[in-house]
């Protein structure tokens, strides 16, 4: 108890170095815990790029490919899904809702997604977030289009602007333009910080209308196009889509339905569970987070070395203090304990400050970070790794404290009662 009070007073006496040491430890601890929080947040946000979707269904092929083109609109499907099959599963007893996607066209580098209003009604991301309109409304007519937030920002579109869709996926203006069938912007989606922002949404009818005169993958001869005025929903036929999202009425049905889709006889289909597929994907690209952790570990080491330096350099000034303590009956063991206690207090204070600091900062900046980076940083108690870090810092502080302590012990033995300055 007396040693604790001595350690406390001694640290208080060296306020400046104590303060700086605590701050440097706090900063490294904050960084360590912060990186952990961000890592959890990033993983979580990534895994929730789409949520409340139980299955993603596409033509049989690689599951990663399906995930990439359906969720991230990257790459392309090798095969399509017939509209019949889609309707079959849409009306399946176990299915609550579906969202069809028809992909393959683009607009100035952004993917064009044909879908139905089910998308605006049912699509969820980040657990329970729904699509919202920043402006305008859902598409209604064949040539209505709704833009993701990034698309509208990047291309400076507003409601009512005409846009021309390019056949195939290309940056900028492609070779085959659907310029005979321009679309009109009727809505702009609010920012989601998911791939939704980088897509252009049209109706499935719109996709059909663009390709109405096409035959065998080629465009109609000039002058043979069906004029826009003659196209109605009645004379359009939706033959195929690229993929669809499925929500089951009950989670228990998911695996059964997945099996049913995978073994569907009419057409080779494949269903994947997005959560599982997303974490698999994260694990393959997640090595960056390890690199980050390694870097923060080094920052922590630097912080602790700073403590070592400050304690060690203070020892010379404190030789007299040690001699006095020895004279009043404190043995070398108590001297060691005193110094270890001091570093323990420093590490503890630094850790406490760092942890509370980073939690305060993340709580305060949570809305901002979510808005800017689309990442939801959960302000929850530290994960197990978090606790391990915190304990490790305190233990490391104690261990490092033994270095100056042993030095002080040596000094005390060598000096005896002669006082050195």
């Amino acid at each position: 108890m007396i040693l604790l009070s001595l350690a406390w007073h001694s640290l208080k006496n060296r306020r400046l170095t104590t303060g700086l040491t605590v701050v440097s430890i706090a900063l490294s601890v904050a960084l360590l815990v912060g990186v952990d929080l961000v890592r959890v947040g990033a993983r979580d946000s990534f895994a929730n790029t789409i949520s409340q979707t139980d299955l993603i269904v596409g033509a049989r092929g690689g599951s990663l490919t399906l995930l990439l083109y359906s969720v991230f609109h990257m790459g392309s499907a090798t095969n399509n899904v017939s509209y019949q099959s889609y309707l079959h599963f849409k009306n399946h007893a176990a299915v609550e809702w579906t969202i069809p996607y028809s992909l393959g066209d683009s607009h100035r580098g952004f993917r064009v997604v044909g879908t139905t209003n089910d998308f605006y009604e049912h699509f969820h991301y980040h657990r329970d977030r729904k699509i919202e309109f920043a402006e305008g409304r859902m598409p209604d007519g064949i040539f209505d289009t709704v833009l993701g937030w990034d698309v509208a920002q990047a291309l400076h579109y507003k409601i009512g602007d005409p846009i021309v869709v390019t056949h195939g996926i290309s940056e900028g203006r492609g070779i085959l333009q659907h310029d005979d069938k321009p679309f009109h912007v009727v809505g702009i989606l609010a920012r989601t910080a998911t791939p939704v922002d980088r897509s252009v949404y049209v109706t499935l009818y719109g996709i059909s209308a663009m390709h109405i005169d096409w035959a065998d993958g080629g465009p109609p001869m000039p002058g043979e196009e069906t004029p826009v005025s003659k196209i109605t929903k009645d004379n359009l036929e939706i033959k195929q889509i690229t993929a669809f999202l499925v929500r089951c009425k009950s989670r228990i049905d998911t695996l059964g339905l997945q099996r049913e889709i995978n073994t569907f006889e009419d057409e080779p289909l494949m269903a994947i569970i997005p959560g599982v597929a997303l974490s698999e994907l994260w694990n393959t690209i997640g090595y960056a987070e390890e690199a980050l952790t390694v870097v923060t570990f080094f920052v922590l080491v630097v912080g602790l070395l700073g403590m070592l330096v400050s304690l060690y350099t203070s020892l010379n000034e404190r030789r007299r203090e040690m001699a006095i303590l020895r004279a009043v009956g404190a043995g070398p063991r108590k001297v060691i304990f005193l110094l270890v206690l001091e570093s323990g207090l420093l590490a503890l204070a630094g850790t406490f400050l760092g942890v509370t600091g980073i939690y305060a900062v993340s709580a305060l900046t949570q809305p901002l970070v979510e808005h800017r980076f689309g990442m939801f940083i959960p302000v929850t108690p530290p994960s197990t790794t978090g606790y391990v870090y915190i304990c490790a810092v305190v233990v490391a502080g104690l261990l490092i404290g033994t270095v100056p302590a042993v030095k002080a012990y040596r000094n005390a033995l060598a000096d005896g009662l002669s006082i050195r300055v």
Binding site: A327, G329, G331, L417, I419
Partner: protein, 238 residues
């Protein structure tokens, strides 16, 4: 003289026999064939600078361990004790005053004086149930520093600091008070006043006082005087 008569041992506060000490193996600092100090005496030990006075006090206080020989203090053999036993012995039975800079800078005067009692339970028990706070106040009043108790030690004059150091060495009535040139930084008047205070307090507590200095003008004040160079064989061989 070489026989260990318990009656004699109880009467003598300190007894050194064939004691050798060296910091480094190649250089003998002290070699004392025999020295005895009776309990309750006030003893003046003098010698020139570098003659090993502080080293001798280190042996008596049990901070240093004799390379050979026997150091008996209060009837116990320090040379046979372990390091921590000697630390404990010093904590409970010895008061020590340095030449200067006696005080822990980050503690108040009161906390400095109380320190030995807070580090050692035996020393605290010897207060006979008087609360530590009151014991500190009483000791301080004996030395005329009662008014300074809540001062920061860095605000004290050197003379005041030495009196605080004396109070710390006297609290809990240790049997042995050891002072290593405590007056060398005081002027003549204050030197005498300080020594008189120290005497009074040691006498009241029946403590043995070992006082070291190279200043022989102080000699007449003491009951007994010892010249270290005469006692120390190692010095003669230097």
């Amino acid at each position: 003289m070489t026989t260990t008569n318990p009656a004699v041992a109880a009467e003598s506060a300190l007894r050194l026999q064939d004691v050798c000490f060296s910091y480094r193996p190649d250089r003998l600092i002290l070699q004392i064939p025999y020295m005895e100090i009776a309990a309750g005496q006030s003893v003046f030990i003098f010698g020139p600078s570098g003659s090993g006075k502080t080293t001798l006090l280190g042996l008596l206080a049990g901070v240093l361990k004799a390379s050979s020989g026997q150091v008996m203090a209060l009837g116990r053999d320090l040379s046979k004790m372990s390091n921590s036993q000697r630390d404990h012995f010093r904590g409970s039975h010895v008061g020590y005053i340095f030449q200067m800079f006696n005080l822990i800078p980050y503690l108040t005067v009161e906390e400095n004086i109380a320190l030995p009692c807070r580090l050692d339970s035996e020393r605290r028990h010897r207060l006979n149930g008087v609360p530590l706070h009151d014991a500190v106040r009483e000791t301080a009043s004996h030395l005329g520093i009662e008014a300074l108790l809540h001062e920061n030690v860095t605000n004290l004059s050197v003379g005041q600091q030495q009196r605080v150091a004396a109070a710390r060495s006297l609290i809990g009535t240790p049997q042995l008070v050891i002072a290593d040139e405590p007056t060398s930084s005081l002027d003549f008047d204050r030197r005498e006043r300080f020594i008189k205070l120290l005497f009074e307090n040691c006498r009241a507590a029946r403590s043995t006082l070992i006082f070291v200095s190279h200043d022989r003008t102080l000699m007449p004040l003491f009951e007994r005087c010892v010249s270290l160079p005469e006692l120390n064989r190692a010095a003669q061989s230097l």
